[in-house]
Point group: C3
Chain length 401, copies 3
């Protein structure tokens, strides 16, 4: 997008109001989103529980790039661009698999798990294999949560690791069991999902199941009365309770909040849906909520972890990948059923997808214009501010170089 056009749109932004139409619908803004945010920041791709053994891998499609995430021989995680250095073929064709070496299916060039070129048959004797490894992708693992960055110079991630680790550790995600995955293809802009997940102005009418579980979600109650007692109880068990808020240009968030008294889990009847997970021994841990912009949301209750990975695929489309993880010892049919485990977030998620899709359709109107956020949507306004600041930063940097 011509910088002057984008700059003009950024100049017209008014904090406290929803974004102008172009930010949601223009393919050139979509490219700017990738250039200045998605290709620069850290993207959640999955958990180490999905690749428990050396040679286990999965692939993630990030805009034009397929990325291989593979477990190395020492348990480490490698992320590699999935394009052979010979003639460019995909090396891994499947979304998930296991392999001792990565072999291109076209002409059988063979790569090690760390991406280095192991063998390229029939190449000349002076061929320098060391120059033809698969291109690496930056990767960081936080207590089993895998994040990648397509940038060679990504924002610092140490603070995220430091803040997230104590919260996530008790769930023992690295040894967890992937119980279920579900993918949605939505016709909406990714930012409308991010906005949706930052407010509960819509929760009362839209999410009866969610409001039955969470105190205050309907905006007519407050969790203030039960919170101090809960926090003390959590601290006694060694659970982290000090929330991490978005600050200035930070892009991650963590909070632990209580379930309604008597509610054990995020489930449609309030009862636990699996056995306590990891270090937990009861159903008393409340909800741990994590966010890492632009594409990661996680809610953990005592008996399961739910992750949401968003992938923006065009201005008007995104993929949402939901994953449910349970304790490594949980046995399907005995300790949990897929239906009960997933009901709560399938129902709640699908309520949101519909809202976000209809929000997008209305925004396509020639008469849509930025509207005022309500006071209870202050966190949405903050997300949108963060987003605009990232584009401003990107534009100014791009001009400078």
């Amino acid at each position: 997008m011509a910088h002057n056009r984008l700059t003009q749109l950024l100049d017209q932004y008014t904090s406290g109001y929803s974004l102008a139409q172009s930010f949601y619908t223009d393919p050139l803004i979509f490219e700017a989103d990738w250039e200045h945010i998605w290709k620069k920041y850290w993207l959640f791709v999955g958990s180490t529980a999905e690749i428990p053994k050396p040679g286990n891998y999965f692939t993630y499609q990030a805009h034009h790039d397929s990325v291989i995430i593979i477990r190395g021989d020492q348990g480490e995680v490698h992320a590699l661009y999935n394009t052979c250095r010979h003639r460019g073929s995909l090396v891994c064709l499947e979304e998930r698999g296991h392999t001792s070496k990565l072999m291109c299916p076209y002409h059988q060039w063979v790569y090690n798990k760390d991406g280095s070129l192991f063998k390229a048959r029939l190449m000349p004797g002076d061929f320098d294999k060391s120059a033809y490894g698969l291109h690496p992708v930056q990767v960081r693992v936080v207590e089993g949560l895998i994040f990648i960055s397509l940038s060679s110079n990504p924002p610092d991630f140490d603070k995220v690791v430091q803040d997230f680790a104590p919260f996530v550790k008790p769930y023992k995600l690295d040894q967890a069991k992937v119980a279920y995955r579900k993918r949605y293809e939505l016709r909406t802009n990714w930012k409308l999902i991010a906005e949706n997940f930052r407010e509960c102005y819509h929760c009362g009418p839209a999410h009866p199941e969610y409001c039955r579980a969470v105190i205050g979600a309907n905006l007519t109650e407050s969790a203030a009365q039960v919170l101090p007692e809960r926090q003390q109880a959590w601290e006694r068990k060694g659970l982290s309770v000090k929330g991490i808020d978005f600050e200035n240009d930070s892009f991650h968030f963590a909070v632990r909040y209580p379930l309604r008294p008597g509610v054990e889990s995020y489930s449609t009847n309030g009862k636990a849906v699996a056995i306590p997970m990891g270090d937990h021994t009861d159903f008393d841990a409340g909800v741990l909520g994590l966010v890492c912009y632009p594409n990661f949301w996680m809610d953990a209750v005592s008996d399961y972890v739910w992750t949401m990975r968003i992938t923006a695929t065009s201005a008007s489309q995104c993929l949402v990948d939901l994953t449910w993880l349970v304790d490594s010892q949980a046995v399907e049919g005995q300790d949990y059923t897929i239906e009960r485990l997933t009901d709560f977030w399938r129902i709640t998620g699908e309520q949101d997808w519909k809202l976000c899709e209809n929000n997008f359709k209305g925004i396509e109107s020639s008469h849509y214009g930025p509207g005022p956020y309500a006071p209870v949507e202050a966190d949405v306004a903050k997300f949108v501010d963060w987003y605009i600041d990232r584009l401003r930063e990107g534009v100014s940097t791009a001009v400078a170089f």
Copy 2:
């Protein structure tokens, strides 16, 4: 589209020849069509018979805009942009429905039927509701036919009302019954349908059913012999007979013409397919044909009214919505059957859709060029002249401002 490119194409136009390829296939011309014609002129959306009671509504998708057409408490018709003034969600999600108030499904902002904002919960005390009504769309009703304009300064419509009203009044459309609707998605440019409906050069070979009903449609006969007697008979009954032709820059047309002697209706066997409609008491009213550019065609016989609403959705695509209306007292299964009522125009229409789609495919050729209209296609040439004049007008106005 760059004005100089469009201006160049307009300069190259030769009256009497079909349009240059770009006018039919170029996405930028499609945008110009919307800018200078579809968003400026009056679009037929449906009839009041579809929304008989206060709170009945339907929506119409006009390019990027969803428009709500809703019956008000005094029977008046309101047209509103279907985008919430809060965060832009669609307010009405369904194509047809009934509601006492219009409530946005996202955060429950509530609007009155006239679009004014009734309630916005949890907004600050100083929030000015009067500034946040749904944006209005211009709307006019002619004896039950509803037209909207997306322009804030549309062409004068009084002459259309004045000319159409006496023709339409006897059919009592406001109290009619919607018997059937059918939608077609066609791969053709909207102007090729408009051209098709302005000539009968193709009728003889293409439309055997139509030619059996209409004298002269095959171009080998003339209605001249029966016309004077017919017109006198119609006048005696108080039916309008004086046709309204396209003139200079006018965009509407009306004509009453006779059916072949012995033919009572537009039907495959020439017999009536329903009871006489509205004020009619026999099957002797011939055919009333109305056109209003760019998207309205209507043919009314003594026992039913058929409307065609075209919607241009891209250079290469359009939607055609056909509606059959019968007298309010007509009972399905007793006075009419869907099959017999709709056979004639489904068959004739589908013959035309095929011709228009193949016309478009051939025009995509690198070797397509404007060809000469035959003398019997003079009305097609006039439509194309009108179209070119509208773009010229639009371009010159746009340059002036």
Copy 3:
């Protein structure tokens, strides 16, 4: 595509390496491919065996152009743009058919098989029919193989005719029988298929059936030992043996090579799958391979001819049309079955389509870059050189005018 951008890409090309991403994925390069190669060079469309009698025709969609290929009254072949000179409708609606005259389905303008306008009803008396024939397309027939050019000044084709004719003649293609056709819609760039068909670096692992039939295909053997004996035997029978290589800017190729001893045909078990074709009396003719850039490949064994017609439909898509021809006397069910006849090339072809589609997917990566061709891929490098030279030629010519 802006010439300076294309020129820059052409300047950056390094021979011996695969092309830069844009050449495979950019829609503007796709248009340049059509402008400088596909619309200029000769395109294979089919064989005269498909239109044995006067009035038999088929159509071919070349980018935006539908072309009619029709057999004339003296057995000659005409190629005509399929767009009526009146209002542009397609004249032939079906992909294959028979007609004594070409009649436009819209207003019944009638053309002779040579494209001249025969009749245009209801046109004015002074209408000059001679000025309104269907636009002709250049066409050449080589022993039953039909090639067209959309250029008014195509490259010389005499050398191709002269080189191909003696090779093709013994198969008596003009009187052959079309046994089977199969179409594939692939998501890949057309050049990746051309590259795939110029090397056997991939054959060993990818094509077990092919390697069982062809000596040397797996690159671990050589046909050198059997070749002299084979060539002498072929010459004794009057079969052409002197291969035609690509030279400088030539765009055609012919070769005859031996099958593995004991193998009679391209079949999954090495046995013949039909009766000897044309002048052949045994299964001893080896394989005749023909190529004509950009879209023609043919492999002929003693008992059948297989042609491949590629059509580039976008940067990321192409159609592949395979046709199997057998001797005119061969009777299905008795002399051949569709399954056995087509197994070999369906299996081998589908292996290649998968490779070419995955090659394309990997090339879409932001980290794809031109990789080095192996020495055994020298012919691929030559094709890519040829391709780049054609664009350079096109760009320089376009600049000059």
